[in-house]
C-alpha cells in the first residue's frame, strides 16, 4: 500500500506503541497534523503554549513511564524552541524522539521562511539526528530513531522531515514492532576483578546514579547492598530508585548531600558506583574525592569510565546484568563494625538538621506535602533551592516519581515536566514544587494544564528572590545581591484564576495544614503561593570544588 510521509509517521507511531505526542502545529507540519486529526481515536496530542513546554512534557512523560517521549514541532522557531528541552533530556539520558518539519527540499539552504538548520543546531545535544530527504527512507529512519533513543544509554534523537517528504508517497511495509535493544555481554575477566575488589573491601559503599532507575534495577541494587553490607548513597538523579525508608539508604551525596551519606562515602574504602557519571556537583574536588578509596564503576557507557573519576575496575555493562552477576557471586558481607559506624552517622544530630520550626519553612511544607501525596505519584521540580530541598526533605519511596532536571539544571523545566509526568502516570495527582523564579519562566503552561484538567498541585516556594544565586552571593560574593531581588508584585491567586485554575495563598505556619488540605482536595490544577523567608539556605553545603572537610552544616 502507498502512504504519504505523514501517514508513514502515524504508522511508525503505532508500531512503536506511541499513544501520546506533545507538540505545536505550524506551516511545515500541517500535513502531519492533518494525519493526527484523523488518528484521534488512538493518538492523543497535547498542544502546549510553547514548544519548550512540549519538549519538557515529553521528557517528563518519559521519565515517569520509562517509555520514549515524543515531541513534534514545526520548522524554524518551532524547532529552535525545542533546543533547551532536548539538551535537558540529553544531559539526563531521557529517551526522546523529537520530530520537526522543515521547508520543502527545494527551499532548503535558501534562508526560506521559517527555515533553520535544526540538524546542525542539535548535533551536540542529541544521541543522533536525521534529516530525511527521501520518503522511501522515512519509515526505517524513524524506526532507527526510536531504537537509538532507547538503546544502551538512552537519549534524545531528532528527525527533521521536509514538507515535501511528508506529502510524497511510497510503498509502506509494516515491521514486526519495536525491537528489544541489544545488550552487550558481560566481560568475564572484568567481572572477576570486580568481585575480587568487593571481596577485599572492608567498607564498601554503593553509590547510585540515574542509570539504575533507567535500567529498572533498584531492587537488584538493594539486594547487592544487603548481600555485601554496604550503605547506599545517591546522586540527585539516583534518588527515588531506592526507597528512602530502606535501612541502608543514607540519602543524597554531593554539594547539598546529607551528612551521613557524604561522610560514609568519604570513610568507605570502595565506592561501587552504578549508573552514574560523577558530575562535579556530586563529587566536589575530584582529586580529593578520588583519594583513599578505590572506585568500581559500573555503567553502560564506556565513555563515562574514568572520564571524571578514575575507575580502579570498570564494568561496561547493562546495570541489571552486572548487578545480577555480582549478586550471584556469593560475595561476603562487610564487617559489622562498618554498618554500626554507618548507623551511628545516620543517628548523628548533624544528619538531622532542621530549619527554624517556629515559622513557615520549606522543610515543613515539603514534609506536609509528602504526607498528603500517594507514594506512587510523580513529584516534579524546577531548579534552584526548592529543588535541593525536595531532594533533601521529600522521602521518595518509588522509582520514577522524582522528575527533575539534573545535568542541565533547567529552570522552567517543571511546568512542562509535571504535565508530561501526570499524563504518563495515567493522571495521578501530581505535585510540582517550584519557586517564584522558575515558575515565571514557563508559567504559560498553566493554560495547558487547565485545558487538559490535569490534577496538578503547584507549590510555588516564593521568597521573592532567586534563592540559590542569592545563597551563593551571600556566601561567596559578600552579599552583593546583583539582580537576584525580584520585586515582582505577581499575585499568584489572581494569576491562577486568570488561567482558569485555583489559587491559594499560604503565608503563616498556623494555616499550613488547612491550606494544603484544601489544595490536595481540589481536582486541580491549583497554584499555592507559599511565602518563605528569603534568607533560608540549602544546607549542608560543600562549596564548589570543595571537599568533605569544608562541609557547611549551619548558616
Amino acid at each position: 500500500m502507498k502512504l504519504s510521509g505523514a501517514q508513514i509517521l502515524m504508522e511508525i507511531f503505532k508500531e512503536q506503541q506511541v499513544d501520546t505526542v506533545f507538540g505545536y502545529p505550524g506551516g511545515a507540519v500541517l500535513n502531519i497534523y492533518d494525519e493526527i486529526y484523523k488518528s484521534s481515536d488512538w493518538l492523543k496530542h497535547i498542544i502546549t503554549c510553547h514548544e519548550q513546554g512540549a519538549s519538557h512534557a515529553a521528557d517528563g512523560y518519559a521519565r515517569a513511564t520509562g517509555k520514549t517521549g515524543v515531541v513534534l514541532a514545526t520548522s524554524g522557531p518551532g524547532a529552535t524552541n525545542l533546543v533547551t528541552g532536548i539538551a535537558t533530556a540529553y544531559l539526563d539520558s531521557t529517551p526522546m524522539v523529537a520530530i520537526t518539519g522543515n521547508v520543502a527540499c527545494s527551499l532548503i539552504g535558501r534562508d526560506s521562511f521559517q527555515e533553520v538548520d535544526i540538524k546542525g543546531i542539535t548535533m551536540p545535544i542529541t544521541k543522533h539526528n536525521f534529516m530525511v530527504k527521501d520518503v522511501t527512507r522515512l519509515a526505517d529512519t524513524l524506526r532507527e530513531a526510536f531504537s537509538i533513543a532507547t538503546s544502551d544509554r538512552p537519549g534524545p534523537v531528532l528527525v527533521d522531515i521536509p514538507k515535501d517528504v511528508q506529502i510524497a508517497t511510497c510503498a509502506f511495509t509494516p515491521a514486526k514492532g519495536a525491537q528489544a535493544p541489544k545488550v552487550p555481554a558481560l566481560d568475564a575477566a572484568m567481572l572477576a576483578q570486580a568481585e575480587k575488589l568487593i571481596r577485599e573491601a572492608k567498607r564498601p559503599f554503593l553509590y547510585v546514579g540515574g542509570g539504575v532507575q533507567i535500567a529498572g534495577a533498584g531492587d537488584l541494587l538493594i539486594k547487592l547492598a544487603e548481600t555485601i553490607g554496604a550503605p547506599i548513597g545517591a546522586s540527585m538523579m539516583g534518588l527515588a530508585t531506592v526507597p528512602h525508608r530502606h535501612p541502608l539508604f543514607l540519602g543524597m551525596t554531593g554539594m547539598h548531600g546529607r551528612y551521613a551519606a557524604s561522610i560514609a562515602l568519604d570513610k568507605s574504602d570502595l565506592i561501587i558506583a552504578v549508573g552514574t557519571r560523577f558530575s562535579d556537583r556530586a563529587t566536589g574536588n575530584k582529586q580529593e574525592f578520588s583519594k583513599n578509596h578505590k572506585v568500581l564503576h559500573i555503567d553502560i557507557d564506556p565513555a563515562e569510565i574514568s572520564k571524571n573519576i578514575p575507575a580502579y575496575v570498570a564494568l561496561v555493562a547493562d546495570v541489571k546484568l552486572a548487578l545480577t552477576a555480582l549478586i550471584d557471586a556469593e560475595l561476603p558481607h562487610s564487617a559489622p563494625e562498618w554498618l554500626a559506624e554507618v548507623q551511628a552517622l545516620k543517628a548523628a544530630p548533624d544528619n538531622h538538621l532542621s530549619m527554624d520550626a517556629s515559622i513557615l519553612n520549606p522543610e515543613l511544607v515539603l514534609r506536609a506535602a509528602n504526607q498528603r501525596l500517594p507514594q506512587d505519584s510523580p513529584v516534579a521540580t524546577d531548579v534552584g533551592q526548592h529543588q535541593m530541598w525536595v531532594a533533601q526533605y521529600y522521602h521518595f519511596q518509588k522509582p520514577r516519581t522524582f522528575i527533575t532536571s539534573g545535568g542541565l539544571g533547567t529552570m522552567g523545566f517543571g511546568m512542562g515536566a509535571a504535565m508530561g509526568a501526570c499524563i504518563g502516570s495515567g493522571l495521578k495527582k501530581t505535585l510540582l514544587i517550584t519557586s517564584d523564579g522558575s515558575f515565571h519562566m514557563n508559567m504559560n503552561e498553566l493554560a495547558t494544564a487547565v485545558a487538559n484538567r490535569l490534577p496538578l498541585i503547584i507549590l510555588v516556594l516564593n521568597n521573592s528572590v532567586l534563592g540559590m544565586v542569592r545563597q551563593w552571593q551571600t556566601m561567596f560574593y559578600d552579599k552583593r545581591y546583583s539582580n537576584t531581588t525580584m520585586n515582582r508584585p505577581t499575585d499568584y491567586c489572581l494569576l491562577a484564576q486568570a488561567f482558569g485554575a485555583k489559587g491559594l495563598r499560604l503565608e503563616t505556619l498556623d494555616k499550613m495544614d488547612s491550606v494544603l488540605d484544601k489544595a490536595f482536595s481540589l481536582p486541580g490544577p491549583v497554584v499555592v503561593d507559599v511565602r518563605i523567608n528569603r534568607d533560608e539556605m540549602v544546607l549542608p553545603m560543600i562549596p564548589p570544588n570543595g571537599t568533605i572537610k569544608e562541609m557547611i552544616l549551619r548558616g
Partner: protein, 170 residues
Amino acid sequence: MENQRLIISLLVNNESGVLTRISGLFARRGFNIDSLSVGETENPRISRITIQAAGDEYVRSQIMHQLGKLHDVKKVALMDAAQTVLRELLLVKVHANPDTRGQVLDAVTVFRAKVIDLTPTTMTMELTGECTKLDAFITYLDPLGIIEVCRTGVTAIGRGDYVLKTNEEE
C-alpha cells in the same frame, strides 16, 4: 602524563554532516585535531577518516570512546605505529629564478620530490612521505622563499593482515 601522537582511523557512514559531527565532538570536548584526511573507501557507503591528534592517556581514552558513541562511526581504531604505513602529500611553491633553481632542484633530488609546475619566477613541487620528511623539506626550502604550502594531512593504512573492518563486518 605526556602527550603522545595519536593516529586514529575511522570508518564512517558516507553521509552529509558526518565530518561536522566528528570535528564538533573534538571542538566541544576541547581536543585538538592536528590533521584530518577523508575519502571514500572501496564501499561507496563508507568513508575512511584519518585523524592525527595529540594527547595523554586520558585524552586518548576519551577521544576513542566518545568517537565510538557516534552513530555514524562504524569503526574507530588507534593505529599501531609499528604496523602502520603513514603518508602525507605536500604541495609547495617557492620563489625560484634561473639563479636559485639549482638549489631547489638539489632538494628535489635528495627528497625524491617531483616538480609539477615551473614559471620564470616560481617552482612548485609535490612530495609524499612521513610528516617528518615533509617537515625537513619545508625547513630546507624556507630560506629560499616559500610562497604557498598545501598539506593533505596524514593518512594511514595497516601493514599486511592489519585491516580495518566496520563493527558489523567483524
